[in-house]
């Protein structure tokens, strides 16, 4: 078990779950937490992973670029648009989790080799 991987995976999953909870019940706290976990996941993904590191970081950046505008749109009063943007981020987050799983499987293979 790798300590670093637990933290990274925790934030990747947390980004997805908080994103869903904001879409289900939109409120300012949920949104701020979603943005915060997404940003944390992005920072942790810099240089992380061996096989699909680029894809992992790119998908996370996509989610950020949906959620940060959503934050401003939400506090300017347009809730519907903010939820729309959060749904876009959800798609990126789902892909992010899938890539993370593939990465884990592939690195398990390479570790066996070594």
């Amino acid at each position: 078990m790798k300590y670093k991987k637990i933290i990274t995976d925790f934030f990747i999953l947390m980004a997805l779950t908080t994103n869903i909870s904001f879409i289900v019940s939109p409120n300012p706290y949920e949104l701020v937490i979603t943005v915060a976990t997404n940003l944390a996941a992005t920072i942790l993904k810099v240089g992380e992973g061996r096989v699909l590191s680029t894809e992992m970081l790119a998908s996370s950046l996509v989610a950020d670029l949906h959620l940060i505008p959503a934050l401003f749109v939400f506090f300017m009063g347009d809730q519907v648009e903010a939820v729309g943007l959060a749904q876009g981020a959800l798609a990126a987050n789902i892909i992010s989790v899938i890539i993370s799983i593939i990465e884990t499987v592939l690195s398990a293979f390479t570790e066996e080799e070594e």
Partner: protein
């Protein structure tokens, strides 16, 4: 199980990474150091914003602003609702105590990382490797010492592009001082390094590593990548005549013994003390120092329109402003007593004297005419 084996085989069959890929990976590794300070800053901002949001009842913009001015030691005042209450002040006190340290440390670490020599050097190296990928017909100079510096100066004068490969970090200072456009600070005998220096597209290479064994290693690696001596020229330095011979056998087009070369050149002056100007002129032309006048060897190929013609009829002096000073016969004899009556034969090599611009034009015109004659013959 079969799938597992397949994936494993696919992962195992990795190709040799390019130098640019290694540098890019190192660049990302260097950026990895940003993670901890960024994460610390991010945590402080999130805790502060969420805390003030709870106090003010969800006012995000002002809460974020309040956090920034608190941990950034700006402290304009209690701008968010609820921060002037008892709970608010307790929260602000704790945030300031933890946040100010985190903020200043993180910002300092981030700024220092960006100005750290590694990141900037890596970024420049990546950019340079990308520019080298665009080069074609260039030369590769392995090793940078005083001789290479003189060579670089001459190549620059002649507008010939070149890439210097030198692994000594001390040489980096001189490379930058001498304004060398392209250089790679890596071990030159590595395949990936030579490939990154554009060996596949290069015209030639100069190996000057101050050590015979290292010179040989580079020559052999380069010759394996570019096997033809006709397409890719390798010039090297050797400490003795014997080593020079070995280098030539192993793939160098020509290996020079520097001491011997210097002595030969000096003796030329001693032997021609009476005609110092002309021997100096020939010397400079031969060594490429005279840029106003040059000598060109032009082989008369089969099918050339020059075959069978007298020099008087060709009259290159008037038409192309160059002079034929000698003719070398295929068997190697040099005819220096040529006149207007001398006839050009197939396989002869014309030694032409003139300005570099006119020589290049003459070469182009004569080659084109040969091509035209051959084409006309084919059509018939």
């Amino acid at each position: 199980m079969r799938l597992k084996r397949k994936i494993r085989r696919k992962l195992k069959r990795k190709r040799e990474p390019k130098l640019i890929e290694i540098y890019e990976r190192r660049f990302i590794e260097a950026l990895k150091e940003l993670r901890l300070p960024l994460l610390m800053l991010h945590t402080a901002l999130t805790v502060g914003t969420l805390g003030y949001m709870l106090l003010s009842g969800g006012d995000f913009i002002n809460s974020f602003y309040m956090t920034i001015i608190t941990i950034g030691t700006i402290g304009y005042g209690e701008v968010v609702a609820g921060s002037d209450t008892l709970y608010g002040r307790v929260f602000t006190s704790f945030l300031a105590l933890m946040g100010i340290g985190v903020f200043t440390t993180s910002v300092t670490v981030i700024v220092r990382l960006f100005f750290k020599e590694d990141i900037i050097t890596l970024y420049r190296a990546i950019k340079m490797l990308k520019d080298i990928e665009q080069l074609e017909g260039h030369f590769i100079v392995c090793g940078y010492d005083k001789t290479s510096a003189w060579l670089a100066k001459t190549l620059k004068k002649r507008k010939i592009e070149f890439v210097v490969v030198e692994n000594d970090p001390n040489a980096l200072k001189y490379l930058q001082e001498h304004n060398i456009k392209f250089f790679i600070t890596e071990e030159p005998h590595k395949r990936s390094v030579l490939l990154s220096a554009g060996i596949k597209r290069a015209k030639g290479m100069v190996v000057n590593l101050r050590d015979d064994a290292r010179n040989i290693a580079v020559i052999v690696t380069a010759r394996l990548l570019r096997p033809s001596k006709e397409d890719f020229y390798i010039y090297s330095f050797a400490s003795t005549d014997g080593t020079a011979e070995k280098m030539e056998e192993l793939g160098a087009n020509k290996a020079f013994v520097p001491d011997k070369l210097l002595a030969t050149r000096l003796s030329a002056y001693i032997f021609h003390t009476g005609s110092a100007f002309i021997s100096d002129l020939f010397d400079r032309i031969a060594f490429g120092e005279e840029t106003d006048i040059d000598i060109l060897e032009l082989k008369v190929e089969p099918g050339s329109p020059l075959v069978g013609k007298k020099l008087r009829d060709i009259d290159l002096r008037r038409s192309l402003k160059v002079t034929i000073i000698a003719i070398r016969k295929p068997e190697g004899d040099l005819n220096v007593t040529i006149s207007g009556e001398t006839t050009v034969e197939e396989g002869d090599t014309l030694i032409i004297f003139g300005k570099p611009k006119n020589l290049r034009r003459a070469q182009k015109v004569l080659l084109e005419e040969t091509y035209k004659v051959l084409e006309a013959k084919d059509e018939v």
